[in-house]
Amino acid sequence: MTVILTQVVVISGISGILALLLSIANRTIGDYGEKKMTINDEKEYIIDAGDSLLATLVSEEIFIPSACGGKGSCGYCKVHVSEGGGQFLPTEAGYVNPEEQAEGVRLSCQLKVKEDIKIEIPEELFNVKQYDYQVTKLDTVTPKIKHLRLELPKDKEINFKPGQYIQILTPTYKGSDEEVYRAYSIASSPADNKAVELFIGYVPEGVCTTYIHQHLKLNDQLTVVGPFGDFYYQHNDREMVMVAVGTGMAPIMSILKYMQEQKIERKVTFYFGARSGEDLYMMDILKDMEKKMPNFELKCCLSRPKDEDEWDEDTGRVTDLIETYVLDASDKEAYLCGSPKVIDSVVDKLRAKGMPEEHIYYDKFE
C-alpha cells in the first residue's frame, strides 16, 4: 500500500513541480503585457499580448473567416498587417504567396502578437459576430431540403446584406468527432434582423447536413458566425436575371424579400430549376411575390417531371430557360446560385448572349 502511495506521490510531485515551473514561466516569460491593436487606422483596442492574432481578434469579438480553427491548414484567416507583425513564418508560406507577402498579408492564426500592431481588415468584418442561435423552425420542405429558422439571443441582432451567408459550427455527434464550420446562405430578409432563415439540403456523408437532417431538434442551440460573402444585391437600375437550383434559392429569396420590402421595382425574372414536382418549394411565397411585385416574374422548369406532377410549364434544365427567355443579355445583370457545374454553364450561356462578365454575380455552393 505504501509503495503505491509513494509512487503516486512521486509522479504527482514531478508533474506538479514541472507544472508550477511552467505556470511561473507563463506569468513571467510568456507575459507580454498590454499592447495596442489598431484596426484600419481608426479603431484602437488594448489587448493582452502573447496570443495569436486570430485569437486576439476573436477575444475582441471580431470574427475573420477561419475554417480550420487556427491550425494553419485552411489559409482563410489572412489579414493585412502594416506594422508590428514580426518576421514572416515558414508555417505561413504554404498559404501566402510571395506577392501577398510583399504587401504584408499574414496568416493571423500563426502570427503571435508581441508588440503594438496595426492591421487592416475589410470593414464588413466588424459586423461578423458569433452567437448561439435557437432553432425555432425545422420544416421539411422537399424530401431533401429543410427550412430552418434560427433566432438570436434576445438583445442581439444581425446586420447583413441580402445574398450573404453565415457559417454554422457543427458540434460533434455520433459518427463525427470534429467540430467544423459550414457555410449556408441566408434566405430571410435583412429587415428581419433578430433571426436568420436557411435552406439546408441533405448531402450524403456531409458532416453538417447530416447533423441538421438527422440529429438537430426544434429548440436546440446552434452556434452561428457571420455574415460573410461578397455575393449580395447591387444597387442600380439594370434588369435582373436570377438563376438558382435546389438550395441555391436561399440568397435569391433574401434579395427578393429585400426588394419587396424596399419597394424596388426593377424588372426581375427568377429562373428556378428542379428535378420533379416534389423538389419545388417556397412556391406559395414566390407566387405571392409575383402578385405583389409588378415587375417580378417566376419561371420554373423541371428536368424530370413525374406523371402526377401534371406539369405543363417548361421542362429541361435552367440553361434551357435562359436560352428560351433571355434574348439579349447585354443590358442586364445576373445573380446565380447553385452547384459550380450549373453556374459555369449558365455563365457561358449569358456571356454568349452578350452579358458583360462584371455584371454576373454568383455564389457557388460546393
Binding site: V3, T6, Q7, V10, I11, I14, S15, L18, A19, L21, L22, A25, N26, I29, G30, G86, Q87, L89, P90, T91, K112
Partner: protein, 196 residues
C-alpha cells in the same frame, strides 16, 4: 554500465543505429517536414537540441529520483512529462529572448514534443545502461543522425519534385519508398561500429 567509448556510441548513433533509418522512430515529422533542405535543417537542429537536453535531464531524473525510489517501471510516463515540459519551457524562453532563433527553430518545437525519436533515445539510454557521458554522446549523435537523414531525404525530394510520378505514389508514398532505400544504403555502414 557497459564499456563502450562514448565516441563509438556517438558515431554509431549517427550511422549504424540511426534513429530513423534503423529504428524507424520520429517518422511523422520526418515525412511531413522534408520538403525543403532549409526547413528540414532547422528542424534537425531543433531535434538535436531537444534530444541532447532531454536525454541529459531524463538521465538525471531516472538515476537520481526514480532508481532510489524503485519506480523505474514508470519511466515512460515520467520521461514524457519531462520532455513535454522542457520543450514548452524552451519554446517560451527563445520566443521571448532569442527572436531570430525562434523564427529558425522555435516554431518547430511543438512538432517535436510528441516525436517518438526523443522518447526513444531516453528509453534506449536506460535499456542499454549508458553512463552520463555515454548518454550525452548518444543524445547528440542521435540528433545529428536524425538531421543527416532528414536533410538527405529533403535533398532527394527536392530533386524529384518535377519528375512524373504515378498518381498513387505522390507525397508520402514515394517518400516512404525513398526512406526504405536510404535505410538499405545505411546497412552498408554496419561493419563500421556496432552498439547492440
Amino acid at each position: 554500465m557497459i564499456d563502450i567509448h562514448p565516441m563509438v556510441i556517438f558515431f554509431a548513433a549517427i550511422f549504424t543505429n540511426n534513429m530513423i533509418l534503423s529504428n524507424f522512430l520520429g517518422m511523422c515529422s520526418f515525412i511531413a517536414v522534408s520538403n525543403e533542405i532549409k526547413t528540414s535543417l532547422s528542424l534537425g537542429q531543433a531535434v538535436t537540441f531537444v534530444l541532447t537536453f532531454t536525454t541529459l535531464l531524463n538521465y538525471l531524473v531516472y538515476h537520481y529520483i526514480m532508481v532510489p525510489l524503485g519506480i523505474e517501471y514508470l519511466r515512460y510516463i515520467v520521461f514524457i512529462i519531462v520532455i513535454a515540459a522542457f520543450v514548452q519551457l524552451v519554446e517560451m524562453i527563445i520566443d521571448r529572448y532569442f527572436q531570430t532563433l525562434y523564427y529558425a527553430l522555435g516554431i518547430f518545437l511543438p512538432l517535436i514534443t510528441v516525436n517518438c525519436a526523443i522518447l526513444g533515445v531516453s528509453l534506449f539510454m536506460v535499456i542499454r545502461q549508458y553512463s552520463l557521458l555515454q548518454s550525452l554522446a548518444f543524445g547528440v549523435g542521435s540528433g545529428l543522425g536524425w538531421t543527416l537523414a532528414i536533410v538527405m531525404l529533403a535533398g532527394i525530394r527536392q530533386r524529384i519534385k518535377k519528375n512524373p510520378l504515378p498518381k498513387g505514389l505522390e507525397g508520402p508514398g514515394i517518400t516512404l519508398i525513398i526512406t526504405g532505400l536510404m535505410a538499405l544504403a545505411f546497412v552498408g555502414f554496419s561493419g563500421m561500429v556496432q552498439i547492440q
